[in-house]
Symmetry: C2
Subunit: 168 residues, 2 copies
Amino acid sequence: MSHIDENSDHETRATAEDRSALRLWLRLLTCTNLIEGHIRTHLRSDFDITLPRFDLMAQLERHPEGLKMGELSKRMMVTGGNVTGITDQLVDEGLVVREDNLKDRRAYIIKLTPAGRKVFKQMAEAHEKWILELFSGLSEKDVGTLYKLLAQLKQHVSVIAREHTPGN
Amino acid sequence: MSHIDENSDHETRATAEDRSALRLWLRLLTCTNLIEGHIRTHLRSDFDITLPRFDLMAQLERHPEGLKMGELSKRMMVTGGNVTGITDQLVDEGLVVREDNLKDRRAYIIKLTPAGRKVFKQMAEAHEKWILELFSGLSEKDVGTLYKLLAQLKQHVSVIAREHTPGN
């Protein structure tokens, strides 16, 4: 807490800062939950799919070279999905393939099929529209400011998280 | 998309905005996940408890009059916890009680016990310290700006989510 002025009342100041950081965290979490919930509802009603399934396909779309199961799990951005179960379903539906991994015979590589990419494209376009609508209450300038401040937050949090990882 | 200038190239403009809204959403989600992950790790290593358990106790702390099971489930801020299971555990440990609801005999009221409040207080103090550390990369002014912009986002998202709720 080196940023606290030595001359101020440490106790009061620290408490006030605790509160504003805590309030900010709760607001951040609330915004994320509201947006995630809205996307979840839309994916269900418009495409009859779950958010983890969308998320899994989105990760594969970003990696045309394919991902190992472990990498895929690590990249998932939403919790609550069974990665193996979803992959099995998508394979059954012909939207995803498991390919032999030449570098590591024990680990398959998971990829979208051309059909999977086509199906994902439709969902991704709808998803972008919903996100655009949700964020349309902010001006372009506000979007930029928010993006910049969250970059700062992300950078700081990443450093702290890394320092606290067991073994570091 | 009434805020788009009629004279600009709609297609290009919309696409650029889609991208920046989408990028902002992914960054928001990443920040939330990083912070949540850090808190989850700390709760596990320092108190040997899960985040849903902490969240459940936090909701009860905010409602000394107690909450019905359904209200408690709705107020949970993290997903992945089994609210009934966690409540059963906490009752067994004497940290939470189920009281008869005089207004509705079918629905119990869940409350923290004095022991539960004491245990929660220790965890909440640690939790506030971790949050303060995670957000200490932002100046007081930045915290205020972020809080204000997220309020705007929350307000807009709430309106859209309400409009889209089935039955409205």
